[in-house]
Symmetry: C2
């Protein structure tokens, strides 16, 4: 929790329980307790939240999206304004992705080559070239603490040849990213660059990718290309094969994942860091996460329910506003609905992470996992009228 | 500031300076320092604000819109859930309007008669009858501390006969509203009912309306039918004629007003209470109010400006986030833009009210008025690049 300004990036394991790991990442902007959930601040804001709230819920790190920020307000502008931490009033750790994933999913007229990818901005139609070198340059301008190599992320399922081609390209881009990161002085500023394991759902490809990356001097390692359409069991199976091949003394980050269950099960398979838009996006669509699963506030069953989402939660958004009020706000299209439900959802996610961390330290992770899954299976409280 | 639970409605003057009045309203849910600005919580929420924030800015009272609440979630539902204070987590004073103004401006297929007005709901098309009695019934179900009589508010300019007809109808409705309010036990619960002075911009009609209403036992008096399209000077002229004819020992509420200048000038003419959607609505459209006037954050001049809206403001939204960041949030359509700008705007409005109250108590209102107007005339700080 302490702010170790200017401490170089480091990672230490505090405890393990089975494959689950309890650790601590230090960056120039603070300490990140792992396993960690990183709220997504796509456009330099975690949607519908004040930065202080995000912090108070126990978030040690947020994610910024390189693709969005390079287009607007532009990385050069953020740099002129003193960097992303200052720009968005988040003096704690920031992780940025490479921009590659959004180039693939949001940009138009993409053209991929060995050199990189060219595309048209979805904001103003401008033609832009993204290379491994340029991605690092942008992340350096943003000044993030943890940076990602540019990789190619393909949709699943995919033919083996396609997965192999993208994996090998990503390895060559990893190399180029590292060269650029060091040339720009990232290590000297205590920043981290993570390599990204690819290979689709093919065990051989994943092992080869993890093995090759492990020989490169990355500060951490990501698992990319999962949670892109495949069933959960396929993702978990792939993790089981992949994480043991990743360096044990470096943090492992599963990109873009996921539901509370995805997170719990991935921790059980050795993952340390997560990011996902789910809790924030769901909050803007009337969906609440609680320890008893998902609650759809749009549902008329809540219209006369004076009970809060979860009276035992320490979060105000969860324990103080009635379901009837939340239902009304959602139906009326009020901004406060998104504000309260996003707050509730991030609170629940961070409570889950704290529970996970405590359990690993206490060597009771399996018990915690079973109890948590039992609570989810129990489901939401019965409708108010039927009590 | 103290919460005098269950104290009946009362009003006392603390000081006067010229026509300007410094007073204190007590209601069953607290004390309201006047002159008071009442943020508008149309659908049981002051848009893009947590209720605690609204309170912390110095708001002693918020306004709820009877028309919106009767349609959704319905007054009956709010009553079942324990009343509007509990429903919206606002344990302080609440004022509700009669619903009449929104019936006239939002509802479809309106039909006006001596009995009341029938219309179609803009939410579900349902046909609804609104009478003076029904308006009070709804406000009683909501449980507001300060309630309004149903009146007919016409658009300006209007022919004298039209203004006179509406004024006389409003007087008869005032009588019926009072009967209903007393029959339902409003006074016994310490609640207040305000009569509404109408009469367009005709001095005779205004004086007649004020005179007739003064003979009825209302706890307070509103000035209705202004700020509906007429020039500011016409409004102020009408106030100059109207307020002296209103009881000096009762609060005077100018409905739906207004800009900071409207408020300052209306206080100078004897008004004690104001409500307006301007600070909240402007906040959702990229507009900020500061002591140097209005700032349009959409303007590209702010894109590289590291300075906050007003570094001398005690409000975090005003002193901590750069104009460049606010510009970015507005351009990117982020919810945090509305959250921060609404916060800034309500903070400025409440700072203005505090300044007004302090000045009246210190008998320096004229000085405060001149200084405040001079600051507005000065305008925003020069663009950053040109410094």
């Amino acid at each position: 929790m302490t702010n170790n300004d200017n401490a170089p990036f480091s990672f230490r394991l505090i405890a393990t329980d089975g494959m689950a790991r309890r650790g601590e990442i230090r960056t120039p902007h603070g300490t990140v307790r792992t396993p960690a959930f990183m709220p997504v601040g796509t456009q330099a804001t975690v949607k519908a939240m004040y930065p202080d709230q995000v912090r108070e819920l126990g978030s040690d790190v947020v994610l910024g999206n390189t693709y969005h920020l390079m287009l607007r307000p532009t990385a050069e502008r953020v740099a002129r304004l003193g960097g992303l931490h200052k720009f968005m009033n988040w003096p704690h750790t920031i992780l940025t992705d490479s921009g590659g994933f959004q180039v693939m999913s949001l940009a138009q007229l993409r053209k991929l080559s060995e050199k990189g990818v060219t595309f048209q901005s979805h904001v103003d139609g401008q033609k832009i070239e993204m290379t491994p070198e340029r991605s690092i340059e942008i992340q350096q301008l943003l000044g993030s603490d943890i940076q990602m190599q540019l990789d190619e992320c393909i949709a699943l399922p995919a033919p083996r040849e396609e997965a192999e081609r993208a994996m090998r390209l990503s390895l060559r881009w990893a190399e180029r990213s590292r060269v650029q990161f060091e040339a720009m002085g990232g290590p000297g500023r205590g920043q981290a660059l993570y390599g990204i394991v690819q290979g689709g759902t093919d065990p051989e490809l994943r092992l080869e990718s993890a093995g090759m990356l492990s020989q490169m001097p990355f500060e951490g390692y990501s698992v990319g290309g999962l949670a892109v359409g495949e069933p959960q069991e396929v993702m978990l199976k792939t993790l089981e094969i992949t994480t043991p091949a990743m360096p044990a003394d470096k943090p492992r980050y599963l990109m873009g994942v996921g539901t509370p269950e995805d997170i719990l099960e991935s921790v059980a398979r050795g993952i340390d860091q997560f990011d996902c838009v789910l809790p924030t996006r769901a909050g803007r669509h009337g969906l609440a996460y609680t320890r008893y699963g998902k609650v759809n506030l749009k549902n008329a069953r809540h219209a006369d329910d004076p009970r809060p989402l979860d009276e035992t939660s320490p979060c105000e958004a969860s324990n103080r506003y009635s379901r009837a009020y939340l239902h009304h706000l959602v139906k009326a299209g009020e901004g406060l609905a998104a504000m309260l439900l996003t707050w509730n959802n991030l609170a629940y996610y961070q409570q889950l992470m704290q529970g996970i961390r405590d359990a690993i330290e206490a060597q009771t992770f399996e018990e915690f996992r079973a109890r948590t899954r039992a609570d989810w299976a129990k489901g939401d409280i019965p409708p108010f009228a039927s009590r």
